[in-house]
Symmetry: C2
Subunit: 368 residues, 2 copies
């Protein structure tokens, strides 16, 4: 199946041998037909959701992942294109950007009549862990990083994020779509091939619930969109802004929680990827490359980070929540990491050893 997306990107869908769909996103018309000859069996069973009654939060229990096949050595990277010697997750011998379902997903397609139990403390029954976990391969080149990709390549990735948000939003059991990237061993990455993931949840994740509460309260109180006012404050304060162009603005937020934390938002605010126009899409890649290059430039090393896309839930907060990208790094100084220990992980109360204005200065001072 082939589909034309904006930015001249074309999507071609094929099936892997175990039934998963693989979508190729290409910047030009190209025939994708390589077959997966691995003959794999279907994915392991679905996990389940349990409610933690002490805080009313869902925990996904996916015990089939503990015993999953462990990652092969680097020379057998499963995210590289397939070669004569090596069959990987991507049957074709080359690709631009591909998206496919995780081989051992924590969240998966549920039965047709699936419903999330209403939260009610101890009486809440377990539920199947409905949702989706997808892998987004950013490039076929094993030895690069998102920041170093071409503007065109990042545009193709952006089209994949937009398209997956649109497609996953159609599923009746999906509430939140979360594209993200973990980069670096310090945040547990074992596959160094440049890639991100998309988690689609069948419940509102705890941090989204809090964002929704804050955004709705602000809208009700002021009649204005919270992120618009947040950005207005950053523009007024000015000193924490590290980059901007006609469509996007990047800043270290006033109340940063991590030593190096950058938020990137479109100046014309939108609820989610499905609302992003061509002007915004065209100007994303240059500023994304700039802020990630600044992050890597601070200490002259590839900085470990978690890059998270926040967008409005599929079915709520469409008028109050706004799309933005949060990139957080756990590195405080060369050789020193910020660990989430007692106060952060036990209490959720963050302690920052670096003023946001100081880290903004360091990011701005990087020579590109």
């Amino acid at each position: 199946m082939k589909q034309k997306l904006s930015g001249s990107v074309v999507r071609s869908d094929l099936k892997l041998s175990d039934g998963r769909t693989i979508s190729y996103y290409d910047s030009k018309e190209i025939e994708r037909s390589a077959q997966d000859s691995r003959g794999d069996e279907a994915q392991p069973g679905i996990g389940h959701l349990r409610l933690d009654p002490l805080v009313n939060e869902w925990v996904s229990v996916a015990s089939h992942r503990q015993h999953r096949i462990f990652l092969p050595p680097k020379e057998l990277c499963p995210l590289c294109p397939t070669t004569a010697d090596k069959k990987t997750e991507i049957p074709d011998s080359d690709y631009e950007v591909v998206v496919f379902g995780n081989r051992a997903p924590a969240l998966t397609t549920p039965d047709a009549n699936w419903e999330l139990p209403i939260i009610s403390g101890l009486d809440t029954p377990n539920a199947d862990a409905a949702g989706a976990c997808e892998v987004v391969c950013y490039t076929s080149d094993h030895n690069t990083s998102f920041a170093k990709l071409s503007v065109q390549q990042i545009r193709t990735i952006l089209e994949a994020w937009k398209d997956r948000t649109k497609e996953l939003s159609k599923l009746p059991y999906i509430e939140q779509i979360y594209p993200f990237e973990n980069r670096g061993e310090e945040v547990g990455v074992t596959l160094s091939h440049p890639h991100g993931q998309i988690y689609a949840y069948s419940f509102l994740p705890p941090r989204i619930e809090k964002m929704l509460d804050a955004a709705n309260a602000h809208l009700k109180k002021t009649g204005r969109v919270l992120l618009d006012d947040v950005i207005a404050r950053e523009v007024k304060d000015e000193k924490r802004i590290i980059a901007q162009n006609a469509q996007w603005i990047a800043y270290v937020p006033f109340a940063a929680r991590y030593p190096f934390e950058i938020h990137l938002a479109p100046k014309r605010s939108i609820a989610d990827f499905t609302e992003m126009d061509d002007a915004q899409s065209d100007l994303f890649a240059p500023i994304a490359k700039e802020i990630l290059a600044r992050l890597d430039g601070v200490f002259g090393i590839e900085m470990a980070y978690i890059a998270s896309w926040y967008q409005a839930p599929v079915r709520s907060g469409r008028d109050s929540m706004r799309l933005h990208w949060q990139i957080v790094s756990v590195r405080r100084q060369p050789g020193k990491l910020k660990y989430l220990s007692g106060s952060e992980s036990g209490m959720g109360a963050f302690i920052m050893d670096l003023e946001p204005e100081q880290s903004a200065e360091q990011l701005k001072a990087v020579k590109l």
Copy 2:
């Protein structure tokens, strides 16, 4: 100043040369008078609190900590007793348990007229980071761990937790008292001397706010205390209970978030340490030793953990929130850690690779 506590424990207060108080907790009457001869200057300035408007959470910014004097090498451990060659944080040449203020605290004593600004999004002014950060040295022996201490020694630590909760509760700006221990390099510990910390917050930390909401909702809906019902379910399910005695019960919770997570609670539930009676106090040490020994026994290595005491806030939830201890370990298998990456840290949505029943089995199977 000397004070008799329960369990025959005696507290003696002295001053360090920079003005901080040091409290010795001893299991017998003993004269504590060693003077701090280091001639140190007063602590660095107070940090401040900034509100993150996207989630309405306070972040403590303590930039004076970034440039704090770095930890001396092991042979100069600042938590060992002072010797002829080496002056440490503890002026005496021996001690049982001591508590003193952190040298570079994230939270400190505010001005007399300090008040937390009412949370109202972007209009909220910064506030001084009021609170307290204390160090609890568990033993003068550098080369041991909490689990290996004697029953008497742990009883003395317990009296220190009780006493500090009582004393800190008297301060008008304190809302939550949080004794905890980070153990192991995997959670960022750089000082291996057995010790814990106490953070006293001038606001309700985010996780406490959620616990309070859940506990209050349950009380309102059922007329019962949430933790009592949680424990009743654990008793009914039985398979996740790993230890108990006449006063305490330890279990892997139904919706554990970490691969090895143990909760320990008194069977007669209490709001906080100030309500703990002698029978509960006497039977804490044996079961604490047992569960920590089981944790270390699973893989035959000293397990890294964060051990958190949850108790009712000082001024709210006194009838709904209940004291308990949560010990979480980030180790999944030998050589494999659970990292808090995208889903956990970006969304607050936990993914568990191990069923709570499986980890309870492993903990129960440890030969002590």
